[in-house]
Every structure is written in C-alpha cells, then in structure tokens.
Subunit: 545 residues, 2 copies
Amino acid sequence: MAKDTKPRRPRAETPKGFRDYFGADVTERKAMLDRIAAVYDRYGFDPLETSAVETLDALGKYLPDVDRPNAGVFGWQEEDGDWLALRYDLTAPLARVAAQYRNELPTPYRRYAMGPVWRNEKPGPGRFRQFYQCDADTVGAASVAADAEICAMLADALEEVGIPRGDYIVRVNNRKVLNGVMEVAGILDPADPEKHEHERGIVLRAIDKLDRLGEDGIRELLGEGRKDDSGDFTQGAKLSNAQAEVVMRFVSAKRSVKDNFARWAGRVDKNSTAKFLIAADATDRQFQQVLGKDFTEWPEYGLWNDAVVEYLGDLVTGSKTGQDGVAELLEVGSQLAAQGYGPDRIVIDPSVVRGLGYYTGPVYEAELTFEILDEKGRPRQFGSVAGGGRYDGLVERFTGQKVPATGVSIGVDRLLAALRAKGRAGQSLQGPVIVTVMDRDRMADYQTMVGELRAAGVRAEVYLGNPKNFGNQLKYADKRNSPIAVIQGGDEAARGVVQIKDLVLGARIAESASLEEWKSQPAQFEAPRAELVAQVKRLLAQNGD
Amino acid sequence: MAKDTKPRRPRAETPKGFRDYFGADVTERKAMLDRIAAVYDRYGFDPLETSAVETLDALGKYLPDVDRPNAGVFGWQEEDGDWLALRYDLTAPLARVAAQYRNELPTPYRRYAMGPVWRNEKPGPGRFRQFYQCDADTVGAASVAADAEICAMLADALEEVGIPRGDYIVRVNNRKVLNGVMEVAGILDPADPEKHEHERGIVLRAIDKLDRLGEDGIRELLGEGRKDDSGDFTQGAKLSNAQAEVVMRFVSAKRSVKDNFARWAGRVDKNSTAKFLIAADATDRQFQQVLGKDFTEWPEYGLWNDAVVEYLGDLVTGSKTGQDGVAELLEVGSQLAAQGYGPDRIVIDPSVVRGLGYYTGPVYEAELTFEILDEKGRPRQFGSVAGGGRYDGLVERFTGQKVPATGVSIGVDRLLAALRAKGRAGQSLQGPVIVTVMDRDRMADYQTMVGELRAAGVRAEVYLGNPKNFGNQLKYADKRNSPIAVIQGGDEAARGVVQIKDLVLGARIAESASLEEWKSQPAQFEAPRAELVAQVKRLLAQNGD
C-alpha cells in the first residue's frame, strides 16, 4: 500500500500478427485502390461499406481453412448472450446485405467493397491477422455474362494500376466441370449430394495444392494419405485406383493439353503447327506469350480454349453437370473473345479450382506472370493476386431462396507488393518545405511564411521542436525528406530577406564532393522576403525535373 | 436424426448499433476525407494507419465515459491469455506508436489518421458502436505553436470541405486555467496531485455538460448531487459553498465577459462602445458576427480575447498553473492573429473544457454555428464537429518519460451530416448508362457496346438480370438512376442502328405531361451504331448542364 509503488507500464507493441502503416505505405495503397475503384465504377458497380463487426451467425462457417471450422475469426460474446465477430472476408457481409436489403436493392446488384478483414490465425512470416481486400460482386445475375464481366473488369483493373498486359493472366475454370469429374469418379451422386462430402473436400483441397504437392502428392492424398517432409500425416480420400485415375486425368488436364496442343492447333490451321510446339515444361509466361501471339494472328479465337474444352468434355462424358460446366466455359470464353479479351489476357485453365467450398460455377484467378527473386535469390513467378467465382448458395443461407452471385477479391497487399517489385510504387513521401526557427520570439513570422507557402499549394511547416540547436533542425529536415529549408535570423529579418537552402542539391553536392559544382550552383542563396513563395516554387519545379 | 431436419437460418441483420453504408454515403465521405487529408498534407502531416486491434493494456483506461472504466471496448482473450481489443479512438494507438517507434520517427512527429473506431456502448438513436474519426496530432512539440497550428489547420479543413467562414468557430481554452481554478477552490494541491482526483472528475464532467444542465444543474453537482428528470440521482462533488463559488465564477466566465464586453471594448476605443452592446443572451452566432466585424475593423486584434484573458487572470490569481494557462491562451491567440486567424474563425472561449481526463494544456473544439431544425422542427445550432487538446502524459504511460503532444479529432459522420444540411453533399450517385438486352444470343454485341462506352470514360453496363421482361429492364434503369438506356433489337441490329432513350428527359416529360414537349424533344431517338459513343456523350454533356 506504499504510495510510491509504480504502476506497471504497458508495452508499446503492435499486437502479434498486426501491422502499422506509415507515410507512403498508406498513400500508395490508397492511390491503388482509388484507381481500382474508378474501374469498378465505370463498370456500373456501386460502393458498399458494411460494418467490420457481424453476428457470428451471419458469418457462417465458410472460412478458407475448413479444417478448423470453428476457429479463424476474432469473436466475443455480448452481455445479452449474442456472439459478434470481425468479418474475415467481404463476401459473407455481402451475402448478409443482399438478403437483408433484398427489397430495396436493384436486381442485379453490382457492388464493390474495400477494407480490412481479420483472420484469427497463428501469425507467421508474411501471414497477418489483418489485411485489406478489394472485392467486386454481382448478386442476382444467373448468366455467365456476369462472370465474364468480372474477369474482364479484373484484367482492366490490373492494367489500370500499372501491371502491363503480358505481365498478368486471368485464368478461368468452372466448378461444375470438377463436379462432373467427381460424378464420373463415383464420389458425387446428384440424387444425394451430401454423400461423399468428406471425400470431396479432401479431393478439392488436394487439387488446389497442385503447385505445391505436384501430381504425385495429390495421388497420395486421393488414396491412403500423405506424409509431408515434417513427418505429419494427412488422411487421404481412400479412393479406389479407378476412381483416383479419373480425378488424376483432371489434375493433369493442363499439362496434357499443353502436350497435345500442337496437334489441336494443327487441325485448325495446317501451317501453324510449328508455332505451337511448346515444350510441356514451358512456364505459364512462355506459354502465355505464344497464346497472345496466336490470338493476334488468328482472330477467329480459341485454339487453346477449344483444346481445353474438348479435353474436359471427354472427361465428363455422362455427367450432365459436367457438360453444363463445359458449355459455360465455352460461353465465357467466346463472350470475352468477342470483347477482345483473348487468351493473352483471360484464358481457360483447368488447373484453377479455388479452395473455397462454396463455389458453384465459374471460378477465376489472376496471376502475375513476371518473375521476382525469392528469399534465396532464385527467380520465381510472382503468383496469384486475386481470385473469385460464382457462389449461388450464400444468400440462400439467410432466405431459403437461391440467389445467383459471382465476384472477385483482390489481395491488396500482394498487388501493392507486385507494383513495388515492378518499380511502380515504393517511393517515399515528398517531404515538406521546412521553415526553421532562428528566433523563438518571431514564431508568428515563421508561421506567416508557411501560411503563404501553403496558400500557394506548397507543403510546408515550421520546425516545432526545441529550436536551440540549429543542427537538429537540419537533421529533422533530412529525416523528413525535405526539399528546401528556409532560414531567417534577426539580421535577415532586419534586411527583409530570407536564406533558401536547396537540400536536394545539397545532398547531391555532398555525395559528389566536387568543389567546382559547389561554386557554380550554390545550394543556399538569399532572396527578398517578398519573393519567398516564388523562389521556393521555382526551386521545387526545377528539382521536380 | 431425420434427414430432412432443416438447419436454422441465420438472420440477415446488421448487428445492433452498427451500420451499412451504400453508394453516395461511401463516396461522399471519401471525397470529404480526401479534402481534409489534402489540408493535413499541406501542413506537413504524414499519414499513419495502425491496426484496428490493440492490446487492452496499450489502450489503457482513457475512455470518455470514465464512469465505466472497464467497459466501453470490444475485447476478447487470446489463447495465450493476452487480451486484445478494438481501438476506441485514434489517439491511444498514436501514443503506442510514438513510444514504439520513438527512435525511428522524426521529432516532432506530425501525423494524421482516418478510420473507424469502436465503442462498446448501449446502442441508441444516433449512438453507434462503430464510427469514423479523422485525427491530426503533433507529438514531441512542447510549444503552444503546435496547438495554434492545429487550430488554424482545423479552420482551413472545415473551409476546404465546404463550411464557409462565418458558419463555424474554433474555440480555444486551456486546461491549466481550469486547474488553476481548482487550486484556488482548494481541490487541487500541486504538491499532491492525486488528492481530490475524484472530486475534480465530477467537477470536470459537470462543467462539460453546461449546455445541457445549465449553471443551476452544475451548481447542484458541485454540492450534494443532482436528480435528473428521470429521477436518477448523480452524486455531487460535495464542495463547500465558497469552493463552489470559485468554480461557478469559471463556469459563468463566458456569460460574464459577454455582459461586460461593451465596457472592455469601450476602454480600447471610446467610439466603438455601441458596436459591442451585445445582449447577454445573444447566440454564439450573433456574437461571432460582431467579433468578425470587430476584428476586421480593428486589426490590432484582441478585444474579446483580451477581455477573456483578463477575466480568467483575475480568477486564478495565486495559482502558478493558472497563470501559465492564461499566458498560453494569450500566446495562442496572438500567434493566430498574426497569421490572420481572428476571432471570427478562432476565438478564446472559457466554456470549452473537453470531457477527457488526459488533457494537460490547450483544449479546442470546432462548432458549426448555422442553424438546423431539430426533430421537433425548432431551429438549433448544428453544434460541435471536432475537438482536441494537448495531452503531455499519454506517451509517458509507455516510456516513463514525458512526451508533449497535441491533436484534434474530427467527427466524420457529424461533419458529413453538416455538409448535407448545407446542401453540399447528399446527392445520389450518377447511375450508369444501361445497355438493355433484347436478344439474349447477342450478349457479346451488347458487351461490346458497353466496352466502347467505358473506353470513352462513360459509366456503363449491360443489363444482367433475366431479360425476358423488357419493362423490368427499364425499372432497373430507373432504380439505378440511369441517365440513358440503349436498345438494339434484331431489326435495329440488321439496320446497323441503336435506339437511345434519354431517361432524364423522359422523367421530366412524364412529370410535366405536356404533349408539346414530347413532340419537340423526343426522349428516344435512333442513331447509327457507329455513333453510339458520340451520341451518348453528347446527351450526357447536355443533361449535365
């Protein structure tokens, strides 16, 4: 009970898995989102901003990590017993809104949404518990025209933010094709859709990891199971060899079509065969370059898409769902082609399945195909930055009535990282002009200077730290990345002048250290007080060149 | 265990106290925040975006509603035992950041932040549990120049978003003056600052409610306590009559100075007395108009501010803290005056105390002085939209070292409501041009049309609902607030034309129902397909006039 017992000090720490964004990290993300929003707006999508908090009930159990259906969200219980939680994506809140406002909203309802989402996952390197998403969805449109539109808009958005054509590819598939494959393999019975749900979940998640596990890894997961490098064992779907074989033909679809592509192409144009002799191990990017060329040279479109659709059509023979999926794929492809979105931008790709359980039709994702260096300095493709698909059952959870819906989610942090990798973002903020304080009593004079500068649109501030040590003021200007410092002591004030210090030039001189330059271009000069604004603007314009 | 047991459907509801924002509600807030950010940027403030989640520890117990120190936040316990919570303001996270990154950040550190905050309060009419704030703070500047700068910036920001000069007033006071009053009243002992803390809290919160309780209500709370209209009793501070008298002289300061203002003014300029004969019951707005005039006519500034400072100086005689506060007030006022911010924009006002316990020096708030009608149709002043002050102790919680800081928080929703009340916001979104679907098989043609329109910068979309009923398509266009519908059936396609329907004119005609207008200005006309974009742009430009 001693009076001088010190209270424990709280620790100044961002909670584990969370981040703080400073300066340009904020403005660059904002600039990117503004550009994306402009594209969404042009396509007729309206903004929607739901609350960050939802009832746990409304969120449902649709987290990507379905292995832990009850975990994954940050939730708490209210005094009245209700459970609330932070949204983990922007799709679940949209489904809630579409149900709640179904009588007021237009049908179809096109909306976009941007904002943070939260995942209660174990934080790890590059794995954060709060991150931005940027979604666009169309609710109430059953036609695949809505899916095609989202794919085209996604391609436009990527180009708008600065990913040039050829550096990205939007890949489209259809979940009904996969369901058809499941039917043919005997693990999906249209008359009893809940049967084999567990097995199908394992198969879906296995296929989604093709990149990481390879075909052999998937084959293990279709059978008894798979032990990973760490020794952990994942239970398999325990399919028979014949069943697994059907699924594996789907898994290897892309590779197989690549292998056969020369033959397909040759059938369409006898003289073009050589152009399509793509090695089976060609990267997606090499492949895409040929597809782009192909599309330009044969405007009748579709060599690759035709080949894929024919392969898949064979695979799902006997399944109505599968055939519907193939027909939808063809329709999406031909609508996009008619609008000029060829396979150099949007391509049918049977390797896309998307891990989420709720997709019911077309699924799509955007991949950036340029290479970056991984942690070990090896080149690798940048990878996926957006994904989505059709989910006709999410609104039904609330209303009991099927409402068709389709949409895409852009991983904002990943896309921004891509822009930085391409040198299209990552600059630091332009610092303010600093008016230094030589004479504390004349603070009002210095404030008047910055007032004039701001009125002329110049970012400017008075140094507000302790002005005693002038060196600290210049160090501050340096830390702020300031282009110019303005100095006026009592002597200058009496003579009606100011000193203007060009910090950009000063830094350059300090680097080169050539005496000649010092003499010809002084980094500091005197100007009449009345010319302060004009001289600063002149210098800023000059340094901006 | 019957197979057909239906799962319970979740309810499609925004959680109580939360809101969804649609369309223009999102874009208008964004436009307003962008304008404010531009002002903050010009003043040299850098953006900061902290995570929505903080450790409960870091947040501390600084909620405005100090009567319930442990409630007020949405928090939950992590598996590792730590407590996390959603931020309830943007100041507590800044204090954490200033401590955490103190070696990397510049000193002073000027930052702005915008985003939602969460309060776990009982929801009620107009009381929400998630709302936006927009803050600007300077950390590490002890000088009142930092406070003056924030006040000037706040005035600039209000004008930038569309609140004209004369419709707002930034009011400044200083917490040290109040502390001086507390010393004189004998409920604050500089040698033992924790003594009487409870009483001071009651006094502070009582004074902050002057508008609502009136002077009589405050007097009750300074004594035994007060029973409100509902019969609830609030404990009073139990001051003696003499003590309460000192506090009441502070409470009535503004009214008293208003009463005496003619005399003060007369002292300065014998001829001006008549101009200052302001009735004691003059509204702030009437009063402000005279102050504004006064300031323009007497550029030597300060009649009102001088009068207030003299009154307060008398009140805190004998208290060093109080005298410091008065000196700071004078300094803030004269710095602002030197920059041209007279009492028509920023005024010293002893009635400002701000409810938060952590303020240590200047406190300020922005009030909108124009009148709106309340729920009962009576005119009332719009009221406060922003507030802040100096809090030199918040960073110290983490580091043990005093770090001076000052800043303002704008209530974003209130300010947006004000803009709407002034007719400067509240429009609905411009709807897209709708290309209708007459022939489902020619979807690609319609998509090509919207593609061309978008490429020309026109917001446009294809109708993606079921196209069977053409009336539904026009109803949709109406609901979307579309300016134009484009129609092309098989006949028009064969002839290479489109029908362009001017929905704005159509609506006007439908309203006026004059046959003459119908004839002279057809709301629908035919145009060659090749001229689609040009005709739509012409019509949009025409309707925009």
